[in-house]
Amino acid sequence: MSTYFTNDHEWIKVEGDIATVGITDYAQAQLGDVVFVELPETGKTLAKGDEAAVVESVKAASEVYAPLDGEIVEGNEVLVDEPAKVNDEPEGDAWFFKLKLNNKAQLDDLMNADDYKAFVDSL
């Protein structure tokens, strides 16, 4: 299993053709206390860059974008009732959604963990 990152501060874990997507620890720290999460509907087809989910902290609303083309196969309903989990375990149980990928070649455009760390350090 490989983990990829975007410069929108999302992480993507890929197993077969299923990608699990969440936001990074850096992203949750920037957002602050998360109070609301809106998930995409299962079955929805998204293109890379489309708005997929919404995450709101006390201060502001942010979008979570589809990092790759695909179809939503599952949203993490736990986050709807416990949005603060995004702050507690952003890169663990607080994933946002799972995408069935239809263009795995797009993975080549994403960052690996080392690249992402360098990217965050440069901010």
Partner: protein, 381 residues
């Protein structure tokens, strides 16, 4: 902060904010702490449960100085709809600066200082974002015998919360005896300060005006107490929203009157009857006949925060009747709340409306404010 903008002003507590790990943001031309390490939610809760220390040194402090109280009060009354002639020494009052259309140019706190040597002086605190315009407006409108003396060398701190009085008493024992909206000079561990028992959170607490050079010592003495945490602008906003208090430039503006803004408590009887302030004819007509629109509180169903600018619609229609002027998640209530303007007919408590968030109509109910009960200090009788 690596990206400190050279054009931003710093308060006397800037170094302390950075030392405390604050996230600094530009606000009204200043670099200000939006939150510290605790984060907005915990800072908010801590203020409701114990005590929070806020740096509000960016706000504009000044004296109006005239020959005697009656003259200075009359000059101010020509620009605001509140009664200052009868304001007693050592008392503070909330008011609004009006334009000729009755619109609100800013909201401010006005104190009549104690002591004969202060006769003819009124101490004012205005919003940071408005202070330059306010001071220019006051200078242009005040008669020649009333001078505006700005106090840029003063810092302003707020200590707010149910433990504020206990903490303050350790450093400035006189403060615990003060009534709500009282103001006086005293010493804090030997440092000269001007204190008012007021604030912007709905809690008991104080605002402490001091010389810039003494602000850090006072802040550190307060923060050394386990009951006190540093609180940023983020929690300041959620605390005041729960308390139903207006944020100038959002909930009240130059396009809204005090009647529309639902803050007529700042207009005492004599002023309502006699007028004599900018826009008096319109405001008195609104008092008599009711305004067209009014600021209301809204509780939003569900968890999604509805924010400033979101449209208010009539249920099951797409008829837009107003917009939110503030809104967000209320940490004390664990639910989203908002303020906005609606036609008066829809301003009745319990009226069911909807708010549009990302194209979805969220049910909302008109709710009396404050959303969270205010807990201002009441002197034992």
């Amino acid at each position: 902060m690596a990206e400190q903008d050279q054009t931003l002003a710093l308060t006397p507590l800037y170094d302390l904010h950075v030392e405390l790990g604050a996230r600094m943001v530009p606000f009204a031309g200043y670099s200000m702490p939006v939150q510290y390490k605790l984060g907005i939610m915990k800072e908010h809760q801590h203020t409701r449960e114990a005590a929070g220390l806020f740096d509000v040194s960016h706000m504009g402090q000044a004296y109006l100085v005239g020959p005697d109280h009656a003259t200075t009060a009359a000059a101010l009354e020509a620009l605001v709809p509140s009664n200052f002639k009868e304001l007693k020494p050592g008392r503070q009052r909330y008011t609004v600066l009006l334009n000729d259309d009755g619109g609100i140019l800013d909201d401010l706190m006005v104190t009549r200082p104690e002591g004969e040597e202060n006769d003819g002086r009124l101490y004012i605190v205005v919003n940071a974002a408005c202070k330059e315009q306010d001071f220019a407006y006051l200078r242009a409108k005040l008669p020649a015998n009333i001078k505006l003396e700005e106090l840029p060398e003063r810092a302003l701190l707020a200590l707010q919360g149910p433990k504020a009085a206990e903490v303050m008493a350790l450093h400035a024992p006189q403060a615990s005896e003060m009534a709500f909206m009282a103001a006086q000079e005293m010493e804090f561990d030997g440092i000269k300060i001007h204190v008012s028992r007021s604030g912007y959170t709905g809690e008991d607490g104080y605002e402490i005006s001091c010389q810039a050079g003494t602000a850090e010592a006072i802040a550190k003495a307060l923060l050394a107490d386990d009951r006190v945490e540093a609180i940023g602008l983020g929690a300041r906003d959620s605390l005041r929203l729960e308390a139903g208090l207006c944020l100038y430039g959002h909930d009240i503006t130059e396009k809204t009157t005090p009647v529309e803004g639902n803050i007529t408590f700042c207009m005492q009887k004599r002023r309502r009857e006699q007028g004599g302030f900018p826009g008096a004819a319109l405001i008195q007509k609104q008092l008599a006949d009711g305004p067209q629109i009014i600021r209301v509180g809204l509780k939003i169903e569900g968890r999604a925060p509805a924010r400033e600018g979101a449209e208010i619609v009539l249920p099951k229609t797409d008829k837009v009747i107003g917009a939110l002027t503030s809104g967000g998640f209320a940490p004390t209530m664990g639910a989203p709340i908002a303020m906005g303007y609606v036609p008066v007919a829809y301003g009745v408590e319990g009226t069911k409306l909807e708010v549009l968030v990302r194209g979805k109509a969220l049910p909302a109910i008109v709710t009396a404010m404050p959303f969270v009960p205010q807990r201002y200090y009441r002197k034992p009788s």
